[in-house]
């Protein structure tokens, strides 16, 4: 492995993004404050984007959210708490990409309203099953 710095990652722009990430990550670790970086709004040509992705690498968590309105691909980078997200529409067109600095990206967390609705639904299903069980006794 070469220890010489990669030409692209020494690029000022990439350096600035990485420095921002480092600051935000340290802040997350010490205060719990989460942050996001919208990659769509950053002017990066393909080689720069590739260099950033290569530097961040892939960690050990990958998730896919697929629903009727589209798809989101999420993975943690080599840096714990730094996540890459790519959002697609229902035609699989890339809508936007972002970096989330968080213990878990917001979109992966179950929503409190959904959880309450799920609890009610599960409860109702259980009650129905119990009723059916009694009927079969």
């Amino acid at each position: 492995m070469s220890l010489a710095p990669d030409k692209e990652t020494t690029d000022g722009f990439i350096q600035a993004i990485l420095a921002e990430l480092a600051t935000r990550l340290a802040e997350l670790a010490s205060t719990g404050i989460e942050a996001q970086i919208d990659l769509r709004s950053l002017p990066m040509d393909p080689p720069k984007r590739a260099a950033l992705d290569a530097k961040l690498g892939k960690g050990d968590v990958t998730a896919t959210i697929a629903d009727r309105a589209g798809r989101t691909e999420v993975f943690e980078t080599r840096y714990a708490g730094v996540w890459r997200l790519a959002h697609y529409d229902m035609h699989d067109t890339l809508l936007m990409e972002e970096i989330a600095i968080a213990p878990v990206p917001d979109i992966l967390r179950a929503d409190p309203t959904d959880m309450a609705e799920a609890a009610a639904r599960l409860g109702a299903e259980l009650a129905l099953d119990t009723k059916k069980g009694h009927a079969n006794d």
Binding site: I37, D67, H87, D89, H91, T93, D111, T113, D114, E117
Partner: protein, 363 residues
């Protein structure tokens, strides 16, 4: 089963998850250049609100604005907006006709007083009201009546915002813009011929989520979409900066993708988001196809000389529509005060518009 009360409940019924809503909010905050940290607040704001009643009035128009928004040939992410709003009146899209249709408009106005949004496409004839009527009523009268108790009026397309092609010299119908008719109700101008669909849906989503209109420019347009010139964001700009211009549509420069300035491109004086959002789901945009920008989102673009002459030879000084700056200010202030009547006031504080100006009578 009871009727869903909020957009969130309605989406859940349709099997659209909160995560999908969060994805949508991430996309809208991105295209509107809002801080990413506002994504959750936007998703929450949309989920917690009632579907927004929308009354769409069509005046002297060609239906391209509706076509741009609905793009019936290919549903896209921003079609989710139709789950967030209740389109209670739209002459081209509604099933009801005649008296039933007019009753639907009046009922929506009554049921949602001070909380519905009016979208207008087309210019309004004042020369002879008979040029454009609906159910025997002149456009101007219907617009005045409908706008009076609206939360906001969104003028979509360059006809509604500036008078448009019907206003082209000699303006046979006496066409005027929405801002010359509507008083005391906030106006948001989304110009373009037609306007970019994301500019319409993003603006509506912002109003719905935060109960506030986004920050507007001096012509009453959302800065998020009209804050940069086409020229500022054009991918051919490096050629302009180097002085490399195509001289005809089939010369070597045109083939090499050089700047179209000398072929009449109006990008340097046109403010819109075509260069970044592009058209048809990001497929392309006029300059990318090899044709200069026509400047269709600017006032009087239709009367500013040849589309094919370079700017200094073809452009008169930019006309400013009547009291446009005031339109922006009225919009900002008045909507904030009406929205304060709703439960959205807390979230609304997150996106306070900068401008504030006095109410202006534009007729």
């Amino acid at each position: 089963m009871t009727e869903p009360q909020t957009v969130g409940e309605m989406l859940a019924r349709k099997g659209i998850s909160r995560r999908a809503l969060l994805r949508y909010a991430a996309w809208v905050t991105s295209i509107m250049a809002l801080p990413s940290s506002m994504t959750r607040a936007m998703a929450q704001g949309i989920a917690d609100t009632k579907r927004m009643s929308v009354i769409w009035l069509s005046c002297q128009e060609c239906t391209a604005c509706t076509e741009s928004l609905t793009r019936s040939y290919s549903p896209t992410i921003d079609d989710l907006i139709f789950d967030f709003i209740s389109l209670d009146y739209h002459e081209a899209l509604q099933a009801a006709a005649g008296h039933q249709a007019e009753e639907a408009r009046l009922k929506a106005m009554e049921d949602n007083k001070d909380n519905y949004v009016v979208i207008v496409d087309g210019s309004i004839p004042l020369g002879n009201m008979g040029y454009s009527t609906v159910a025997g009523h002149a456009n101007a009268d219907v617009l005045r009546e409908t706008a009076e108790h609206a939360l906001a009026v969104v003028a979509v397309g360059s006809c509604a915002t500036w008078g448009g092609l019907p206003k082209a010299d000699p303006n046979p119908t006496g066409a005027v813009s929405v801002s010359q008719i509507v008083r005391n109700t906030p106006i948001i101008n989304i110009s373009g011929c037609p306007p970019i669909p994301e500019a319409m849906t993003g603006t509506l989503a912002h109003v719905l989520a935060f109960g506030q209109i986004p920050e507007l420019d001096h012509l009453g347009r959302p800065r998020a979409f009209f804050g940069n010139s086409i020229h500022d964001r054009c991918y051919r700009r490096p050629f302009y900066d180097k002085g490399l211009f195509a001289k005809s549509f089939d010369d070597e420069g045109a083939r090499k993708g050089w700047c179209l300035y000398e072929l009449g491109c109006k990008g340097p004086v046109t403010y819109n988001a075509c260069a970044t959002l592009k058209w048809n789901g990001g497929a392309s945009w006029p300059v990318q196809t090899g044709h200069g920008c026509l400047g269709c989102s600017e006032p009087d673009f239709w009367d500013r000389g040849s589309f094919y002459k370079p700017l200094p030879a073809s452009t008169e000084p930019l006309a400013t529509p009547l009291a446009a700056g005031a339109v922006a200010g009225v919009a900002a202030g008045a909507l904030a005060s009406r929205a304060a009547k709703t439960r959205r006031e807390i979230l609304g504080a997150m996106s306070k518009p900068k401008d504030a100006a006095d109410t202006t009578d534009k007729t």
